[in-house]
Amino acid sequence: MKLYDQIFDVVKQFRKLFSPGPVTNADVSGSITAEIFLIVSLVLSAILLRHVSVLLAGLVTLILAIVLISNIPLIPKFKIEQEDSLEKMLFYAVVTLSIIVVFMYWGGNLV
């Protein structure tokens, strides 16, 4: 029953996402669409790993699906990470840069 309650709690949590201000039906349904879209598209792109290894793709897809569904609602967490404060943007930019450079220098030939 816990998962059931969690799913039905999602709508209540979306109310915080739009505060201050009124919450309309269109906004809530849009957020629910975003939630489903996010889960499905991430799982779908995990299937792309099958070009590396079929077993890995199956495992990753299963684990990703379970983790994502048990963590709903994802959109509020997602939105906090992508607000437009300079610190978060700089942090993600520098982290991406270091990952790209390290990966290219030592692992660029693996693919």
């Binding site: 607000e83 437009d84 404060s85 300079l86 610190e87 700089l90 942090f91 520098v94 840069l97 270091s98």
Partner: protein
Amino acid sequence: MAQTQLAILFTSIALVVIGLYSAIFIDNIIKKIIGISFIEEGANLFIVAIGYKAGGVVPILMPGMDTSWFAANAAYPLPFGLVLTSIVIGASTLAVMLALVMVLYKRYGTLSTKVMLADTSKQEEYNE
């Protein structure tokens, strides 16, 4: 000697890393801008070091120089020309950033990045 070029490579990497460190960890906006401008300096230093030739001469053909000797011993001038442009671009970018900081200081009264350049919704709360 190749030693100099290697040392310059490390220096420019150090400058880039200092810049990236200051981008994340320094809160004062002016110091952050100073730190980020070191990235540009590191890139300039690296490109100048490409053209350097150990024991070479400055790539200006003086009257009386033997042309083939000059071609064999002069440093490679193309990177130097590129860096000239890059230095000027860096200075103008810095000037525009500092001008924007001066305007924003009047509105917020502080140089802290956390206040000045926070999320837009939080800035609305701050101004009210």
